[in-house]
């Protein structure tokens, strides 16, 4: 994190991603972007604005609405010398590209005995609360995390977003990069120029001693808010962001739980069979002899995400839920 101190510049999450892509595209001719409305429109969230002006329509390619087809094209291009960044407009459309990503991209290196490789990034998003209803609000990252051969990245700050995106593009494997739709306007300090963040290294966003809060993506913010509240009542929470869930930095998570003896895992995917299950069971195993209380999980409610705001809000993990659960675990309720 020493870079952080070197800069005072604040930019948005969205700008951080844009900058990472621009710098990588300048550095390496083989990097290109393909997806729907990525060029002049710069995607619906405008994250890619300006890239087509610099790199042209040859390297920022507007595709038809053919996610399966152009993800496959990404795989083939990656196998033959290019480094595609495949843009999938909503994470909910993972459903459409699962074959190309899980049966093709993830397995080609292994199936070929190491001869072929697929250096490709799939850039997509997750997160609810935009009143976009059941097919545009899901966080399906656990599906990808289940597939050996893939890497799955969940940045939670502009700084991490830039560094992790650069690492993703330079990685020789298929990487799925999930950005939270609600974080695009979040601001943070981001150095100009080049830096990378290694995969598989969790970041302790806040140190603490009484309980470990593990959050992913925008749930890091939820965990930090909860930690603030908890601090006010004398509970010292440690907040950890795994940053990448495949590979997962198990050691940092377990060590923290051993230190604090309590843990809550918060992720915006559905609770059942979700990311929280893996992380909780790793901690429950690795810190078994040090835990005072069971490891608890908070995920999205197991319902198709409802449109109505009053209902949708109930389905998303909140800092209040985290605070209440932490208080219970710490015997304060």
């Amino acid at each position: 994190m020493s870079m952080l101190e070197m800069t005072e510049r604040e930019i948005t999450f969205s700008q951080a991603i844009n900058e990472a892509l621009a710098e990588e595209m300048r550095r390496d001719e083989s990097v290109f972007i393909i997806g729907e409305d990525v060029a002049e429109a710069g995607t619906p969230f405008k994250v890619l604005s300006g890239l087509v002006e610099e790199f042209g329509t040859e390297r920022v390619i507007d595709s038809p609405i053919s996610e399966s087809g152009f993800t496959g094209i990404g795989v083939g291009a990656a196998m033959t010398g290019m480094r595609p960044v495949v843009d999938i407009m909503f994470g909910d459309f993972m459903t459409i590209i699962m074959d190309q990503i899980a049966n093709q991209a993830a397995k080609i290196h292994y199936m070929s005995g190491g001869k072929l490789k697929v250096p490709m990034v799939v850039r997509t998003n997750l997160g609810a609360s935009r009143r976009s209803a059941a097919q545009h609000s899901q966080s399906l990252h656990v599906w990808l995390s289940h597939i050996p051969g893939l890497k799955v990245i969940l940045p939670s700050t502009p700084y991490d977003a830039k560094g992790l995106m650069k690492t993703a593009i330079r990685d020789d494997n298929p990487v799925v990069f999930f950005e939270d739709k609600m974080m695009f306007q979040d601001k943070g300090k981001v150095p100009e120029g080049d830096y990378t963040i290694p995969f598989g290294v969790a970041d302790i966003k806040k140190e603490g001693t009484d309980i470990t809060l593990i959050g992913t993506s925008s749930m890091v913010q939820v965990a930090l808010e909860a930690a603030d509240h908890l601090a006010q009542i004398g509970i010292s929470a440690e907040v950890i962001d795994p940053r990448t869930i495949l590979p997962l930095d198990k050691k940092t998570l377990i060590d923290s739980a051993i230190k604090t003896s309590r843990a809550i895992v918060i992720d915006e995917g559905y609770a059942s069979y979700g990311v929280t299950a893996e992380i909780a069971s790793i901690i429950a195993d690795g810190a078994f002899y040090h835990l005072e209380t069971p490891v608890k999980r908070i995920g999205a409610m197991d319902v198709p995400i409802p449109f109505s705001p009053v209902l949708e809000d109930l389905t998303i993990p909140s800092s209040k839920m985290v605070v209440n659960m932490a208080k219970t675990l710490c015997g304060r309720s």
């Binding site: 729907e36 409305d37 002049e40 429109a41 619906p44 507007d62 595709s63 038809p64 609405i65 053919s66 399966s68 087809g69 909910d92 459309f93 459903t95 459409i96 935009r130 009143r131 976009s132 209803a133 059941a134 097919q135 545009h136 409610m301 197991d302 319902v303 198709p304 409802p306 449109f307 109505s308 705001p309 009053v310 209902l311 109930l314 389905t315």
Partner: protein, 337 residues
């Protein structure tokens, strides 16, 4: 509608009958309702009274109404993210539609679906769909079901030019052709897929794609309701009589943005183009002019419809604004039947 002899597949032969006269007026009213409904949706959005976004079909009214008026109420449709027009044209009530768009308990889906998932089972609307091309299988399956159950129901699958990019469209056209299913694929080519002109994403010949699967295909002006209506009636007849699927390509235009928040559009299409369609190819104007020329209605008659529709919309909006949100314990109901 039921009064019209179903064997008469040409508009000309039924023109000027009393029933027909009423039907044309009804169709005009339906088109106007779609327009006014969506103007209100836009208003609700800009005044921050509607949650989320929504996709307006203003400019495309003739397709929705022309197609749905060719159907029985027990026929099926599947719709898209740009689905208010289809829903309304298939018989839905505007007050319950507004309620759904505002996430209220009295909405068509108890507020759980919203604009992109509005469904109206009673009138055969199997639902809007937020996955481009996502309902192609559903419509085709409804047609298979109708055939297996031995009814003579027909299914219509609405989709945009953008959905031509989704492989599933070709998969199901192949099957409906093989199995002679009563389904009609209605492609609304409004020239854009979000912010990209369809010619940049669509190679070759659109109706040729359907024809290659031996799916009967036609291309028409989607701004002329008479054309839409007469062509669809013919295709519905064909489907109902066991003669298999068809593909209807309607050239049309959306006047507003891709969604209500898409205000600055000049980077992907010109004001001139928009005005050309609005001024010279407006489906309501074209229809009204024809009716006036043919003395089916006069100017005061049109004004009367306009004011009727206007007040229906005001009432409907008010109904929706006043309606309560769902109970919070609704949140985990209906996950399973």
């Amino acid at each position: 509608m039921k009064d019209i002899d179903p064997k008469t597949s040409q508009v000309n032969s039924i023109e000027k009958s009393r029933t027909e006269h009423e039907q044309w007026l009804h169709m005009y009213r339906q088109m106007l309702k779609i327009r006014k409904f969506e103007e209100n949706v836009n208003q609700l959005y800009t005044t921050a009274k509607m949650p989320g976004l929504s996709h307006l079909s203003i400019g495309q009214e003739a397709v929705a109404v022309g197609v749905c008026e060719s159907l029985r109420s027990d026929d099926y449709i599947t719709s898209t993210h740009r689905g208010h027009g289809h829903c309304l044209a298939k018989g839905a009530k505007t007050n319950l539609m507004f309620a759904e768009l505002l996430g209220k308990a009295s909405g068509y889906c108890s507020g759980k679906g919203g604009s992109m998932h509005i469904a109206d089972q009673e009138n055969g609307n199997l639902g809007a769909n937020a996955i481009v091309g996502g309902s192609a299988g559903i419509a085709t399956g409804a047609a298979l079901s109708a055939k297996m159950r031995g009814t003579d129901q027909v299914a219509v699958c609405f989709f945009g030019d953008g959905a031509l990019g989704q492989g599933i469209i070709y998969e199901v056209m192949n099957m409906s052709s093989l199995w002679k299913l009563p389904v009609i694929y209605v492609c609304e080519n409004n020239l854009y897929t979000e912010y990209t002109h369809y010619t940049e994403t669509t190679a070759g010949n659109i109706i040729g794609r359907a024809k290659a699967f031996h799916v009967h295909a036609e291309e028409i002006d989607g701004q002329d309701i008479r054309k839409v209506f007469s062509t669809t009636r013919k295709l519905v007849e064909k489907a109902r009589s066991g003669d298999g699927p068809s593909f209807l390509l309607c050239k049309t235009y959306r006047y507003y943005g891709h969604h209500v928040g898409d205000i600055n559009r000049t980077y992907y299409r010109s004001k001139e183009e928009e005005n050309e369609w609005k001024i010279n190819r407006d489906p309501l104007k074209i229809f009204a002019n024809w009716m006036i020329n043919d003395q089916l209605i006069d100017a005061p008659g049109l004004e009367q419809i306009e004011s009727d529709v206007q007040s229906e919309m005001e009432d409907s909006v008010q109904f929706a604004l006043d309606a309560p949100y769902p109970d919070l314990n609704e949140v985990d109901k209906h996950v399973y039947a």
